[in-house]
């Protein structure tokens, strides 16, 4: 399944980053950061019609030799980004979508936590483990 997931706030600052292989975190961070350019371009209202705006899933942002990057943006401009290993051909678009939906609902639960200050990086351990479960497909 996916190798990395990230949640980026509306000011494009990282809120959460999780990686299956912790050693690769830095390289993945670079990739995710670069993909924000494309997300922003896609969100640019000038190039969007109303119907497209309603769709939260942005599809594949770009693909690299080793991985593909998918994006999803909530209505409050919170960005979810999933990095998938490009050798994993079995993964279909629908699965990516459902993965995003799960992350979204998980995030919504997380934000509902009265002890979480919106805008702060997410440090919850249970959130981390549930996101890991989602991207590894064990849920």
């Amino acid at each position: 399944m996916a190798v990395c997931a990230a949640i980026v706030g509306k000011d494009n600052s990282p809120k959460f980053f999780c990686c299956i292989n912790p050693d690769e975190e830095l390289t993945f961070q670079y990739k995710v950061l670069s993909s924000l350019d494309i997300i922003e371009e896609k969100l640019n209202p000038a190039s969007k019609s109303a119907s497209e705006m309603r769709e939260l899933y942005l599809g594949q942002l770009y693909s690299l030799e080793t991985c593909k990057i998918y994006g999803y943006v909530t209505n409050t401009k919170i960005k979810f980004i999933i990095v998938v290993d490009s050798t994993n051909m079995a993964l279909r678009d629908n699965e990516i979508r459902s993965m995003f939906r799960k992350i979204h609902s998980e995030y919504a639960d997380m934000v509902s936590n009265p002890f979480y200050i919106p805008g702060e990086p997410i440090t919850s351990k249970s959130f981390d483990s549930s996101i890991k479960n989602i991207i590894t497909g064990t849920v």
């Binding site: 600052s13 975190e25 830095l26 950061l33 924000l36 350019d37 494309i38 922003e40 640019n44 770009y62």
Partner: protein, 1182 residues
């Protein structure tokens, strides 16, 4: 986009393929004539060359009227370098051919001119295959005004002699076959542009002729055109096959399209390209098909976007805000086509990208066409940028990365730089930053034979903005954005690059920046490691808070370590209390008509205080001022902070450097001192540190703990300093007084009644003379008592002024242990405050017998046993008490000023604290008055208790001394003159009821205390003092005794004048004659006086027997009524007495006014008052 059949069709070739990509190409270059502008010779300065290059480069579009009268727009592209191998692809895409050469050179002499010409010729040879024409622009020496003659260049179609007025005569060598243009580099060179246009014209005509020549060729007969690497592929193939014929045709058609495009015939070229594409597609000639598609796209783009331009350099990097990738100079594409007639087969904007995409896919099938593919990708991306399709542009650019080319490192770097540039254009700043970083790493990659850390560093620096890193730490902290993990990584890379590039100052700066801005994102080990790294970096170059300017003009703002160490407290200290300047005259605050108004405590005032952090105290010029800091070291190792100084603005301030070593995780207090060198307002904005080898200016406003941005304090002109010392030892305690301006103290113990002297020595330790000096004593005592205890010699004080610097002066303070020595028989004297006679006295008063023992008229104090015993009991109680002492605390305030400080109305106060311990010396526990031998005197009998533990020598009259053991009491009679009537005359004369007995009492007690001074001397300690009887309280009986009687008595017994205390004796049965006369010594007459004579016997046990009827007989009246006794008149009385039985008789003679007598009399002559003849006469009868 990459074709999956990539490389399938390509063969491994050893042939030189086009190995020098031109990343700067845009699609319009397909239509341009390529002209090399070359700098030759070493004489010409690069700046001049650039200047002329820029002039020439402006002529990038020339309108030329062709033979048919049609105006064609010819594009020209000027380049400075052109690898000759690129010409090889000239058949594939004609715009790659170099067709023109312009050389610029300068000479000073004929030999140099020859050399320049030679170089030009050799360049011509180099590009011989493709070159159509060339020009040489030559700058000669300026000194001469001779008209030069230039050789005719035989190669050109028209020869011409250039004449410039001030060019010296030099001739080009004979083998120089180029048209030379001679100019003076300093002159305007007005016709340069014309010359270049003419040159372009000549190029055009050659091109046009070639085009026509080609177009007239029969398509069936044309030879096959090759891309350089293809040559081998066709060896041995049947060139006559139908397939190949078509291939030839297609390729030639495409070639014609290229030529048409270059010759300004866009619509024709589109036609050619379309045809070529069809032909080539049918024969699967992918490479050329791609080229045809590309040609088609570029021609269409040329029509649609005629104004597309190469964007200038990298200077505008990062200037585009995020999210707005659109360029400002963009022209609406739709406006141009309307003016032109529609062109057949013109691609619409979407198709351009599509065709380009296809072209790129076709190119990608050939490994050797990698460079063409790369260039095509860039061109396509630029079109997409023009079209505002950022995502499309991004996908073209993404493709570039995948193209595997055997490029030199330099070219790879260029590729990334171009990518970054384009990404920036579409607003993909992060991607751009990423590419710049890759480019930067390439500069120093192990593959790179000449690593260039400088370039690496400068690219790294450019990539910062993409990662939301702002070089100013203040802005950076405020913005607080970006991805900290990456930012840390990038900064670390930047530091390494700076270090390797030998920019140690920058490395230190960036490391400081990293620590300052990323502190919260670092874990403890990282913090520690980075701090240690910074320390080692700063060894090479110390960090200092000045902006660093790079060669590229980028300014690296100073980075200050404001939080290493962390400042937890910053407090300005007032001066030491005794040095604090005070206003000499306290202005009275104008409180308005109301004594109290709550408005002053309103929110307005409080807000004002908050906004202006002005200190309430003052600092003094040239005097050490202190700011106390609380610092904590956030690092896990010991931190040495040196050279800490205060940062100030306003008046000149000199700060003393301070060094402190901070242990980890501990709060350390420290104070920074300095001297204001001027008077005025001083602002303290922070402090500077030197920690970890970095000098930082830590401003309060940038610190994480929210301090006010600055502290303000007023500095007043300098004041003198006085050192005060006393001759007495320091007191052990300063208790009650909370005045902190105490500089010294003096403690001493005095017995009641003792006095001492204290010398206060003043030394002016400053260099300002003291011109004002005021000495006052302050205490909680009542002023009168205070003045009694402390006496300052004010005259002596006034003589001190002025006190010059380093001079010493002194004055005396007399201290007298004033106390009440009396047991309070009744209400204490009002002049002694309650607190002085503390508990001891009150307990005494209860134990003492009080007035009761004196109530009986006839009782003698001396003989009263009960009095004795009660006295003894009282004394025991007195001595049993702990030897209680009272302490008097007082301050001697010395206010002084001088110099400029005095002018500004300020002074200083030094206080000497006095702690005087008052120990009881003696105490008068009881007193009485007895008649003395003389009628003008009386005996004041005092019970004096020595409350000390030493033997006391008491001198109670001038000649009489007595020793009293410690803790013992004794009784002394003190002969005192009676209070003369003159002091009391008021009371006899005026019938004013307002004068009371208490007033008489007061006058009498004053009289006594004036006369009676009990001098005591403690033999052991040799201390001596005087006890006064001030406040002694007398009852009416005593008062009669004390004051002179208004009646003068004269008693004669048997004709002899009776003297007091004289013993009389007679035998029983004898007749004794008593004769008395009473004289009135008052000024007024006494009325209704009754004189009576009474005998009695005193049994000495308290019983007085007045029944004398059986023991004696009186002949004559025992009572006589005097109706009026005029002043100075005397009344006489005479009688006889016969004693019947022996014994001791006493005779009491008294004179009284009867009860209920005249009402309107003075108080002392009031009703029922009795005057006695004292002492009573005692007669021993045998």
């Amino acid at each position: 986009m990459r074709s999956s059949v990539s490389y399938i069709l390509s063969t491994s070739t050893t042939e030189p393929n086009m190995s020098h990509p031109d990343y700067e190409q845009i699609s319009h270059d397909h239509a341009a004539l390529l002209i090399l502008v070359k700098h030759i010779g070493s004489q010409l300065r690069p700046k001049t060359f650039t200047k002329f290059y820029d002039r020439i480069a402006k002529l990038n579009q020339v309108k030329i009227t062709d033979s048919s009268g049609q105006v064609r727009t010819i594009f020209v592209r000027y380049i400075k370098e052109h690898p000759v191998e690129n010409n090889d692809w000239g058949d594939f895409q004609t715009h790659r051919r170099l067709i023109g050469l312009v050389s610029l050179g300068k000479y000073d002499s004929q030999t140099e001119l020859n050399e320049v010409c030679r170089v030009h010729e050799s360049l011509k040879v180099k590009y011989n295959a493709t070159l159509y024409d060339s020009r040489s622009i030559l700058f000669g020496p300026t000194k001469d005004v001779d008209s030069p003659v230039t050789d005719k260049s035989s190669g050109s179609d028209c020869s011409e002699t250039k004449q410039e007025s001030n060019i010296e005569k030099y001739t080009t060598p004979s083998n120089f076959k180029t048209r030379a243009l001679f100019y003076d580099e300093t002159s305007a060179c007005v016709d340069l542009e014309n010359q270049i246009v003419e040159f372009i014209n000549s190029l055009f005509w050659v091109l046009e002729s070639k085009r026509l020549e080609r177009s007239r060729e029969k398509l069936e007969r044309v030879s096959l055109l090759f891309a350089p690497f293809e040559k081998k592929d066709f060896v041995g193939l049947d060139m006559e096959s139908r397939q190949n014929k078509k291939r030839c045709t297609g390729r030639m058609t495409k070639h014609l399209g290229d030529l048409c495009l270059q010759a300004g015939l866009v619509s024709e070229s589109i036609q050619y390209y379309t045809n070529a594409a069809e032909t080539l597609k049918s024969v699967n000639d992918w490479l050329w098909l791609g080229a045809a598609y590309e040609g088609l796209s570029t021609a269409s783009a040329l029509v649609l976007y005629p104004n597309m331009q190469r964007s200038e350099g990298f200077q505008r990097f990062g200037s585009l805000p995020e999210g707005s990738p659109k360029k400002a100079n963009q022209e609406p594409a739709s406006s141009t086509p309307t003016t032109k007639k529609p062109i057949a087969n013109l691609l619409n904007p979407d198709d351009i990208s599509k065709r380009y995409r296809e072209a790129i896919i076709h190119y990608s099938k050939y490994q050797n066409a990698g460079i063409v593919e790369t260039e095509a990708s860039f061109k396509a991306a630029r079109i997409a940028v023009e079209q505002n399709h950022a995502l499309q542009a991004a996908s073209f650019l993404q493709n570039v990365v995948y193209i595997n080319l055997a490029l030199s490192e330099q070219e790879k770097i260029q590729r990334f730089e171009t990518l970054a540039h384009l990404y920036t254009q579409i607003g993909f700043n992060r991607k751009a930053a990423f590419c710049l970083r890759l480019a930067a790493t390439r500069y120093v990659s192990p593959q790179n034979p000449n690593p260039n850390w400088n370039k690496c560093y400068s690219l790294m620096l450019q990539s910062l903005s993409g990662h939301k890193l702002i070089l100013d730490p203040i802005e950076m902290l405020e913005a607080d954005q970006g991805w900290p993990t990456l930012q840390i990584q990038i900064l670390q890379d930047l530091i390494v690059a700076a270090k390797r590039a030998n920019h140690s100052a920058l490395a230190t700066r960036h490391m400081t920046f990293l620590l300052q801005t990323m502190w919260s994102h670092l874990n403890q080990t990282e913090q520690k490691e980075l701090a240690i790294q910074l320390q080692s970096l700063s060894v090479q170059c110390e960090g200092s808070p000045v902006p660093l300017v790079l060669e590229s003009g980028i300014v690296v703002p100073p980075a200050n370590l404001t939080d290493i160490p962390v400042c937890l407290g910053f407090v300005l200290k007032d001066l030491k209390p005794h040095l604090r300047p005070r206003l000499i005259e306290q202005e009275k605050e104008d409180m308005g008509p109301f004594l109290f108004t709550p408005i002053h405590f309103g929110s307005l005032d409080r807000n004002k205080d908050k906004g202006d952090p002005k200190m309430e105290f003052l600092w003094v010029e040239n005097e050490a001022c202190e700011v106390s800091l609380k610092l904590s070291n956030p690092l896990s190792f010991e931190l040495k902070v040196s050279n800490m100084r205060l940062l100030t603005s306003g008046v000149v301030f000199e700060s003393a450097p301070e060094t402190v070593t901070l242990p980890p995780d501990m709060v350390t207090s420290l104070s920074l001192t300095g001297w204001a060198r001027e008077s005025g307002e001083l602002e303290i904005t922070g402090y500077s540190t030197h920690a970890l080898g970095v000098k930082s200016n830590c401003r309060l406003k940038y610190m994480t703990n929210h301090f006010p941005p600055q502290f303000k304090v007023d500095v007043i002109p300098s004041l003198p300093i006085l050192q005060v010392s006393t001759s007495l030892p320091q007191s052990a305690s300063f208790s009650n007084f909370h005045d902190d301006s105490i500089v010294t103290s003096a403690g001493l113990s005095l017995y009641h009644g003792e006095s001492a002297q204290c010398v206060i020595t003043l030394t002016n330790t400053s260099d300002i003379p003291i011109e004002m000096l005021e000495v006052t004593v302050n205490s909680i005592l009542e002023p009168q008592l205070q003045n009694e205890i402390f006496q300052v010699d004010l005259e002596q004080v006034s003589l001190i002024l002025p006190l010059q610097p380093e001079q010493t002066a002194s004055f005396d303070v007399k201290i007298f242990a004033s106390a009440n020595f009396l047991a309070p028989n009744s209400a204490v004297s009002p002049s002694i405050p309650q607190d002085l006679n503390s508990g001891m006295f009150s307990s005494l008063s209860t134990s003492l017998p009080g007035n009761s023992s004196f109530s009986r008229h006839n009782s003698s104090f001396r003989s009263s046993n009960s009095g004795q015993s009660s006295l003894a009991g009282g004394l025991t109680a007195l001595f049993q008490q702990p030897l209680s002492t009272a302490a008097v605390e007082a301050q001697l305030k010395i206010r002084y000023s001088g110099g400029a400080g005095l002018q500004s109305g300020h002074c200083r106060t030094s206080t000497v604290f006095f702690n005087v311990e008052l120990m009881p010396s003696l105490h008068i526990t009881n007193w009485d008055v007895l008649p003395a031998e003389k009628n003008t005197q009386f005996y004041l009998v005092l019970d004096i208790a020595n409350l000390t533990t030493q033997e006391m020598e008491l001198e109670y009259t001038a000649s009489k001394h007595m020793l009293i053991e410690g803790q013992e009491s004794c009784r002394v009679p003190v002969p005192v003159d009676r209070c003369p009537l003159s002091k009391l005359s008021d009371f006899y004369e005026e019938a004013d009821q307002s004068k009371h007995l208490t007033d008489i009492n007061r006058i009498c007690s004053e009289h006594i205390s004036e006369l009676v001074k009990l001098k005591w001397l403690l033999n052991a300690t040799d201390s001596k003092g005087v006890a006064s009887l001030k406040g002694i309280n007398l009852n009416t009986r005593m008062l009669d005794m004390v004051r002179m009687s208004p009646l003068e008595w004269e008693v004669k017994i048997n004709g002899d004048k009776f003297n007091a205390q004289e013993d009389l004796s007679c035998d029983a049965g004898d007749c004794m004659e008593l004769q008395m006369s009473i004289a009135n010594s008052l000024e007024t007459a006494l009325k209704e006086l009754t004189l009576s004579i009474q005998f009695y016997q005193d049994y000495n046990n308290g019983t007085l027997n007045y029944r004398m009827d059986t023991r004696l007989a009186i002949s004559g009246a025992s009572k006589k009524i005097l109706s009026s006794l005029e002043p100075k008149n005397a009344a006489n009385h005479r009688c006889n007495v016969v004693f019947f039985a022996p014994g001791l008789y006493k005779l009491d003679i008294q004179c009284y006014t009867p009860d209920g007598g005249s009402t309107n009399t003075a108080p002392l002559v009031s009703t029922g008052h009795v005057w006695r003849f004292t002492p009573p006469i005692s007669i021993q009868v045998k």
